[in-house]
Subunit: 308 residues, 2 copies
Amino acid sequence: MTISARRANTTEPAASRRRAARPSSRAAEDAPASHALDPDAAGQDRPAQAALGRNSDFVQSLDRGLAVIRAFGPDQERLSLSEVARATGLTRAATRRFLLTLVQLGYVRSDGREFSLRPRVLELGYAYLSGLALPEIAAPHLEELVAKVRESSSISVLDGDHIVYVARVPTKRIMTVAISVGTRFPAYATSMGRVLLAAMSPENLELYLATANLDALTGRTVTDREALRAVIGDVARQGYALVDQELEEGLRAIAVPIHGKGGAVTAAINLSAHASRVTMMAMRTDLLPALQETAGRIEADLRSQGAG
Amino acid sequence: MTISARRANTTEPAASRRRAARPSSRAAEDAPASHALDPDAAGQDRPAQAALGRNSDFVQSLDRGLAVIRAFGPDQERLSLSEVARATGLTRAATRRFLLTLVQLGYVRSDGREFSLRPRVLELGYAYLSGLALPEIAAPHLEELVAKVRESSSISVLDGDHIVYVARVPTKRIMTVAISVGTRFPAYATSMGRVLLAAMSPENLELYLATANLDALTGRTVTDREALRAVIGDVARQGYALVDQELEEGLRAIAVPIHGKGGAVTAAINLSAHASRVTMMAMRTDLLPALQETAGRIEADLRSQGAG
């Protein structure tokens, strides 16, 4: 069985993940403005980015080198020089220089013909995760929640117009691991994304609604901007978001906010379940109370430990 | 309570992790030869690296940009331009260009005075992890093992002279998460490292013994090259490695190899426990049989799924 086939058996929406993760990587190169929507960074990064443009301060080699790393992925573990060149849009000569540099730095392995990433690339993401207090504080509470309700739970933060998993505990019946930390999904189609959008300032939300790409990921995805604004308004009033198969067919999820010690929403926590197993009613009556209780415990720990 | 204080309460050897992780980052810049010891890559990367040297194919800007990302970490979440310059050894002007480029690419956030990493950096490690079948296949077996023996379990691969966690399931009583995926430790002082060293070809093992830095991480660490060769020989004969507080005071761990479908050792799996709670005898009599059983199940799945 292939990895894709195995993933298709889980509630991890593999197809959407691939759809979602790849274009967002490209966005980093092509449209710097598109990730200026982070509520924490908005009004801080944006002027800097606007002023920067593609000027003499921009180190193109770094941009290209990171694109070479991102060329590898789930269905691209081993790539030839030509394949990397095709994926990045670089010339073969430039691709070769970047690959050989990455080999020399220990990030890429080569057998002469094909290239693959080495575990050292994990250091780069580790530099970010190890600086976060939330995943560590939340871990035992996530474990407890999943043991109790027997559905998978995740915590995400907003990064531009995507959510990014920073912690995840799968149920026993789901074969997914820490792999999923770092997974990105478009905010509008996910329960955690809607919770985070509902916590935005009105200005940032309008900017998001005006600029986000609202693609139909399933037949049920809300893609109309007015309809989405109304849905997000409901989430703000209710204090939770319930999404029924808008990210992936067969997947339901419910999310609530996690407030940092200052009271601002810093992350969202969800429970996801197979639509065939858990009704919409059960999501609200069985899962929501347990989810809210867990969020409350995490918030209490964040306050008492001075983090978040 | 600080993150460091919280970590000190777990069996996660925080101090060693920091000691271990940082210098290895530096090694990537200064001594490319030091990570040519990977048994998979040896004889493949090394000639390429030797031929490369610091020649015209080496893209220095990529090297420096990655060093800027690695400057951030557990105790360095928010850094000023000067602090990044100090950590990387770059000039202020160069540091500024790299930071602004990373801001523009969405990897770094700036509030004008201080810089911090954004979740997008997780994409880089994700590109590696998502290409690995092992963590996904091993996950349910790790969960089962940890639920049964109530000690933390990890899986590592060798990368140069370090082991790197690719999967980890902590016990309930330990507050550690996916954070730990990507953590690096020097191979010689860890149970998983010794299992992986024991599986090396004699030539690669001799090269490792001749070149590795064998620092005393605790008063018990085996640092004598002859003694280490003997210990590794014992591991090869016994089929497991048991390490008593050589990586961190108070931490014991036992590891066995995981063989890929071709029969070669591709990874190691361990159980770690507090020395105050589990005797050396109990490590062997209680934990080892469960660990071996789990390794066998993972190997069976790797074979049946054509991976590894």
